[in-house]
Structures are given as structure tokens and as C-alpha cells.
Symmetry: C2
Subunit: 501 residues, 2 copies
């Protein structure tokens, strides 16, 4: 193909389209006409020798002069473009791996080769949002078997960066989520690192929840660390608690999670592949998987949890990872806070061992840390729990946490939203059911996780007696629009959120 | 919610994003900040009392002044906006019907209520492209049963317009496609209308093929008719051949087809719902469904065809439509042309009964027309074929076709692309296999269907003896970029396209 006639000059328009790259051309541009490009055509564009794939939006106005083109902000950055650079255009070769996605839609299985091909094309940005949504959907629900999930896991590891700690035992933990406030990670990591083990913990931001561990940690310390910075922190302190997305341990997974978030789904196979690929990439050998079970948790029944446990074990076996699954109680939120800063305050109360600290959160963290100590042969079987408890209650873990935060860039106290609204019991009675999903929704409508100070502070637990007029929980928000939105929802769903007998 | 503080002034930027509506705001806009809007947030925007849902792109530049916002061209038109109009913003209430789509992803069934809810939200433009892709994928392959397809069909009819001819018998035909050049519709409609029956044929444009009937007809006469115009044509001539998408008989289906096109899939359930909903909406009572079967047709085996036939019958029964399914030979292209104008020339050769007209196309059209005449009780069983043949070969059908074109806005001769490239046999031998899919791809790379004069003109059929150096087919194109792209593909796949023994 002759590129000479396919060259325009770049002008920056500053349009932010997030991840998907867009290119802007005049509708009467000679390249559009001669190449047959129309709006939404996917085209290959080359700037200074670097080629990316972008979706075309055409302009019926004078934002661009003849001979000019523009790129969306993400594409501008990805291509390293500068104002006035030349940009060349070519037809997009059909993305071959989409034929595997179509085949999967039609009920055929993915194999290692098709997984590698799809995941590497996704990591290279070759898929449009429409194509990503099709792949995510084709893999949703129980559509993937263990071999397919293992294939995806290996493919995700292959396209990402990998850490090596030069040690036989590197431990880690992961919670499948769905339980508001279950923020054990900062405590577990600090106990484990205090015990002298290596635990390079990379956490995610919220997908569909009001807070991920990375969102919570960010209210106390920087979490967007580079690979080199993570290595330095872990070598110095034995552990870290950082955002995994910043280091591209599994770049394809990060792209897929954004699409899952837009669809408000959390697919089982993709979740297992996402979790285990990041553990392998982080160089872990021994991993605890926490699966909370409850009517309104992500995993709703013991049998679903057993099903998930089976798949985690099968895939871990395929990829050579040592795991232990803990099935835990998921009937109500853990601790008191729901939302980044509120959850961080719970974590700090446990570290500081203050009197009214959330003991359910403390006990869960000790349980997981104890199991990890035993898996790593740090203590003999049955003695992990006591050791973890000692490290926490003595303040050693708290010192370690502060040291980790210092190493990550400095510790700071979390800040709460300055708008508050107390929600009172309308009747008296005993709390017999709490809806995790609706509470999470209230916290999200209040602004969490993008507003770190927003969320819900619980004042009751299952079994507690409430008197009419007593506060059941408090809403925190940073903007009045969001606070009102949460209040509107609350008005409609009031009786479903916390049920009194 | 208080809208007063949520108002900006509209400035037209002229950005064409096709169907999905986009709204452009400054990243430092007070509404973005106070409402928590980020790039890709879906928001409700109201212009002069009319509310639409749009996806946000934020601007990091001075394209917009403080207090200004813009809409993409499709949203600008849909909202009836004018330069300087005020635009109000609100949070999008979650699209409730997406919960049914998620449930379907997780293996649950759709029912009539969920189908109505999904299809009406899609018709109202509430789904983003990502959400549409998820719905299309969740319904792809064999994921829908007959009850679900009937539910979708009824829902598609319910949201669209419906025609009523005041007659007991209104006939129609449909080919499931996948066979290049199978352009029987103009001939069948003309025969049937010439016989005095009513046949209000709405056709589609190409989804994944090089030409749909609407694309082909458009090279000879206008096809974008309004409902009122269609009624006038059919009342006057007994039949029409128009584009169905222009009249919104099934607006949701038109949206879904664009996503299927972007994914290059053609899903069975959606296809049945799409076809039958348009027949019901067009007021038809008796319909022939043509299913060509061949190794490289859309339907690849007799058993797949029987499966599809069963589903068509089950769904037709559910919605009270009288249908007959014809399973036909799909081993090679029909006629000589592949591409809008080239296929139109085949149709005209049959109408004009010129000596070297494509007899396979003629015979297929007579077969279908004959069956329709019998279904409509126009002739006794066994005599339809002879009557159809007589109407065609006497020139009566050709007169009727010209009259229909006149009524639709005037007849014109199709125009071929002025770039041509002959593809010669490299060896001598007998043609024993022709790959429909690869040929269709060559025609598409040449520019069909968006370039009506582009495509492939065949010079051989299965069983024909070729001598090395003889032309096997000719490429037609309107732009050199496209011609080169087709030639590049041809070079790679030459031996797979037409196989000689």
C-alpha cells in the first residue's frame, strides 16, 4: 500500500474518550473518500513509526482544516504524538483472533492457542469496546470450563510483566469480593510481612463495589507504584499493598475489567483467570482465596462456593500454584465503614487496637494470616492463628503497616466527606437481615469509590435490638448531587435494606 | 433534582459518532465536578423538553468555552437542538432491563416481559454500544429457544410501526442469505404483483454480505421510502421493494443489526426474530423462507437447515404466521454478479430475457414465486411454477417491475465501478468447488456494498472446464485503495477461492 498519499498533519483537539482510541478526520478528507473510511471504521494510524488502531469519528465542521487530523487524548498519549506531527492511515487488517471469539459465541471451546491470540490482541489495543463486550459476554456466567480458564490465565500472564523474588515461598491472599467492608488485606499483609515472609500484594480498584482494596489504601498512602518502586518496597519491608493496574501485571485483564464494570457483571471464569494470573505474575507460590457466602454476597450459596472452590483448585493445579480456599460468612458487611476512607478508618482502628474497633474485621484478618503462616510452614499446623493474633495485638503489625506506607510514599489519615445524613430506624425491633447489595448501592450512589470520602457508616449488626429513632447508618458524601441521589434511592428501598423483626 | 444549576448552552462541533449519542463537556465544567460525571459516564440530557441518553466525552481544550456543551451529530438531530439552545443534565437512572440481559448471560431464560422491556429500551436508545454487544452476544449461536425467539419477535413488532392492507392474504418471501448473488426478490415481487396479489416487500441492507436486496435495488430505484410512500406504491402496483430500515418497522432490530455487523456475526435467534417481526409488521399472512445450504453458505448442512426450519415453524406458529420453508442448493453463487450493481445487472438480464441471462437465478425466482402463488390459493397445487414462468417469460413481470420502480421514484440503470481487474486461471482443469465466503470477502474488500459499483463478476460455475489464462472472474472497484486491498487478499487466498480438479 502506498502511504504517501495517506498522510495528514496532527492537530490536538483534547477529546477524552478514555481507553478506546479515536481518530478525527474531516468527512470531505481525500483519505476518507479514497480509502472508503466512514464513521466508526477501525483504521491503522501511524505516527513517527508507531502504529495504533483507532476508531474513526468524522467531522462535519471546521474544527480541522483540510490536511489535518486529530487523535483522542488516550491515542495522542499512546502514539507519543506532538502538534504538527504527520499521521499516516491504512486499512485495518481484520483482527484474526475475533474469529475465535465468534466461535466461542457459537458454543465451541477456547484452547491455549486461541486464548493467547485473543489476550495478546486485547493487550495491544486491537479490540473495539463492542468486540471486548462480546468477548466478556461469551465468557460470562458458567460459560468457561477449567481448561479454558487455565488457558486464559496463562495467556494473561504471558502478555504482562512478571516479578521474581528469588525465593521458594512467596505468599498472597485474595477475596473474591461482594462483601462490603471486608478490608482484611492491609492487616493480613502487615502481619505476614512482620513475620518475615514475602507478600507482594497487588490489589484492584472497585469493579462493581463501592471500594476496592486499592481505593481504600489510597486514602492512606500512594498506591500507583511502578514495578521498580514495588520491588524496592517489598525488598525493604517484605510486603506492599499497591494497585495492580498501574504495573501492567495483566494489561489485558485491566481492559476487560473496565468493560465488566460498564456491564455491571463479574464473570466467574474471567475472575478466576484475573485473580490467578496476577498471583503468578506477582511471583507468588502460596495463596489463600477467601470466598464469603451469603444471600446478598457475590457468592450466594454453599454449593456455589464449593463450585468456585473446585474451579480455583483445578485451574491452580493446571498452572502450578499452591492454593487454599476459605469459605467464610458473607451475611452482612464486615466492620462499620463502606467506602474507601470509611473502610480505612476500620483498618486503622484494628491496627491501633482502640476499644470499639470492629472485632469481626480483626478476627477475619487473623484467621487468614494464621492460615498463610501455616501454609508457608512458618508455624506448625494449628498454631498460625495464635501467632497472627500476637503479631497484631502487640502492635508489631501496626509498626510494619506504617513502615510499608512510608516506603510507598508516606502515611496519611483518611478524610471523610463533609456532607452527612443520618438514617434512623422507623420502628423498633431486632435486626434479622442486612442487604449487602442494596447497601453497596447506597454507598455507590453517595459517590464511592470515585469520591474516597463517600459511603455508608453502619451503626448496627444482625441480632442487634434497635429502638425507633436510633441511627441505623450514616451517609457520607462529597457532593450534594450524589447525597440526594443516595437519599432518593433510600426512600424507595428503605424497608429492603435493613430488616427488623 | 434541581436542574437550574445543571444547564449549559449548546455549541455545535459537528462530530459524527454514528448511532451512539455523545455529549461533550469541559473537564473543568462545574456540572462534571458537582455531579461526578467522568468520560464515558452515561447521562440524561434534556434539550427543549426532549430527553435523550448520551455518553460523555470530556474536553481538555478550548473547543468549548465555560458554560458550553456540545452533542454529536446524531444526538444533535435526535434532540432537535439549535446553536445556543440550553441543555440540562441529570444522572442516568440505571437501565433496568440490563438486569434481564445479565440474567440471560448467566444462563437464565428470557420471557415475554423481559423481551418487551429490553427491546423497548433499545428502541428508545437507552443502551450503549457495549450493552448492545452484550445483548447480541448473549443471544448468539443457539442460545435462544423458540419461546424466547417468539418473545423477541413480538417485542420487536410492538415497538415498531405496523402496516395493514385490509386483505386476508398478503404474501412475502425471505432468504436467510449467505449465498452471494441470490437476488430473486425483485423478480419474485414483480411476478406476484403481476398476478394481482399484494406483496409489500421490505428488504435489508447487507449485514455481513457484499450486498443486501435493498443495496441492489438502490442501484435501480430509490428504496428509502416513508411509510406513506410505501402504502401508495403497494396500493397502486400491488408490490414494492424498499429498504425496511427507513420505515422503522422494527427500530430495535435495526440497531441490533449494526452491532452484529461490527461483530461480523449473524445470530440464529435474532435473525428469526428480525425476519418474522418485519413480516408481521409489514402486514403479511403467508411467507416463503428460502434457506440455501452449502459448505460455504450461511447454513452449512442439511441438518442445520432442518434445525432452522423447525425453529422458523415453531416461532411462526407462536405468533400466528403461515410460512413455508424451502431448502435450496447453496454450493455456489447464484447468477454472475456479487455486489449491488453487478447483481442488479443479473436481475435486469432475467427480466429482459436476454440470451445469456443467468438461468439459475431465473429458475430460483420462478420456484419461489410458484410456491407463493400456490400458498395464496391463486392456482391449484402443482400449477404455480408454470404460471410464474409464464408471467416472467411473457414480459409481464418486467413491465410490473418498471412500474414499481416508477412508483418508487423512477428507474435507472445500475453503474459499475470504473476500476477493473481480471483474475485468470493459473492452471487448466474442471471447477469442482467455489468458496462463497472467500468470494464474498473479495467483493467486500473491493468496496461492496458501500460502493455500489464494486464487487465480483463470475465467469465460471461448478463443473465448467477452465484453460490456464482464461478469466475466472473480474474485480470491480470505485477506488484504487479498495481494489489493491482485494488484490492483496486474492494473492494470499488464490487457491482456496475456486478449486480446479
Amino acid at each position: 500500500m502506498n502511504y504517501d498519499s495517506n498522510i495528514l498533519k496532527l492537530k490536538r483537539l483534547g477529546i477524552d474518550t478514555q481507553r478506546e482510541y479515536f481518530v478525527y478526520m474531516r468527512s470531505d478528507c481525500h483519505i476518507c473518500i479514497s480509502e472508503g473510511f466512514e464513521a466508526l471504521t477501525r483504521v491503522e494510524v501511524t505516527v513517527k513509526g508507531k502504529t495504533i488502531i483507532a476508531t474513526l469519528n468524522v467531522l462535519h465542521s471546521e474544527l480541522l482544516q483540510h490536511g489535518e487530523a486529530s487523535l483522542s487524548e488516550s491515542a495522542w498519549r499512546a502514539s507519543g504524538a506532538k502538534e504538527g506531527d504527520t499521521i499516516a492511515f491504512a486499512h485495518l487488517q481484520p483482527v484474526h483472533s475475533m474469529s475465535y471469539v465468534r466461535s466461542k459465541m457459537y458454543g465451541n471451546k477456547l484452547n491455549d492457542e486461541s486464548c493467547q491470540s485473543i489476550i495478546s490482541d486485547i493487550a495491544e489495543g486491537k479490540y473495539s469496546n463492542i468486540e471486548l463486550a462480546a468477548f466478556v459476554t461469551a465468557c460470562a456466567g458458567k460459560n468457561l470450563d477449567a481448561i479454558e480458564i487455565a488457558g486464559l490465565t496463562k495467556a494473561m500472564v504471558a502478555v504482562g510483566k512478571k516479578m521474581d523474588w528469588g525465593k521458594d515461598i512467596v505468599v498472597d491472599k485474595h477475596c473474591v469480593g461482594g462483601l462490603p467492608g471486608n478490608r482484611t488485606t492491609p492487616i493480613v499483609v502487615s502481619i505476614i510481612a512482620a513475620a518475615g515472609l514475602t507478600i507482594p500484594k497487588t490489589s484492584s480498584r472497585a469493579i462493581t463495589s463501592p471500594a476496592g482494596t486499592a481505593d481504600t489504601m489510597e486514602t492512606m498512602t500512594p498506591v500507583n507504584l511502578s514495578l521498580a518502586e514495588i520491588k524496592k518496597v517489598v525488598k525493604q519491608e517484605g510486603g506492599c499493598i499497591v494497585w495492580g493496574g498501574a504495573v501492567e501485571l495483566s494489561p489485558a485483564d485491566d481492559v476487560l475489567i473496565k468493560i465488566e464494570k460498564a456491564l455491571n457483571i463479574d464473570s466467574e471464569g474471567q475472575m478466576i483467570a484475573s485473580v490467578l494470573s496476577k498471583k503468578v505474575a506477582a511471583g507468588s507460590s502460596h495463596v489463600i482465596i477467601d470466598i464469603p457466602v451469603g444471600k446478598t454476597a457475590k457468592v450466594r450459596s454453599e454449593s456455589d462456593a464449593k463450585h468456585l472452590e473446585f474451579y480455583f483448585h483445578r485451574v491452580a493445579q493446571e498452572i502450578g500454584l499452591n492454593i487454599k480456599v476459605l469459605i467464610t460468612d458473607g451475611s452482612q458487611p464486615v466492620g462499620r465503614g463502606i467506602g474507601p476512607s470509611l473502610e480505612a478508618l476500620d483498618v486503622l482502628a484494628v491496627f491501633r487496637q482502640i476499644n470499639n474497633r470492629p472485632l469481626d474485621l480483626e478476627e477475619r484478618a487473623i484467621l487468614i494470616a494464621g492460615e498463610l503462616l501455616e501454609m508457608a510452614d512458618e508455624v506448625t499446623s494449628g498454631n498460625g492463628h495464635a501467632m497472627a493474633k500476637r503479631l497484631l495485638q502487640s502492635g508489631i503489625a501496626w509498626k510494619k503497616f506504617q513502615a510499608i506506607c512510608e516506603a510507598q510514599g508516606g502515611f496519611r489519615e483518611p478524610v471523610l466527606g463533609n456532607l452527612q445524613h443520618e438514617v434512623l430506624a422507623r420502628n423498633s425491633g431486632q435486626v434479622f437481615e442486612i442487604d449487602n447489595r442494596r447497601l453497596a448501592k447506597v454507598a455507590k450512589l453517595s459517590g464511592a469509590p470515585s469520591r474516597p470520602g463517600a459511603g455508608v457508616l453502619m451503626h448496627c449488626k444482625i441480632g442487634q435490638r434497635m429502638i425507633a429513632g436510633e441511627p441505623m447508618f450514616t451517609l457520607y458524601a462529597e457532593t450534594s448531587g450524589e447525597l440526594n441521589y443516595a437519599k432518593d434511592y433510600l426512600e424507595k428501598e428503605f424497608n429492603e435494606i435493613i430488616k427488623l423483626s
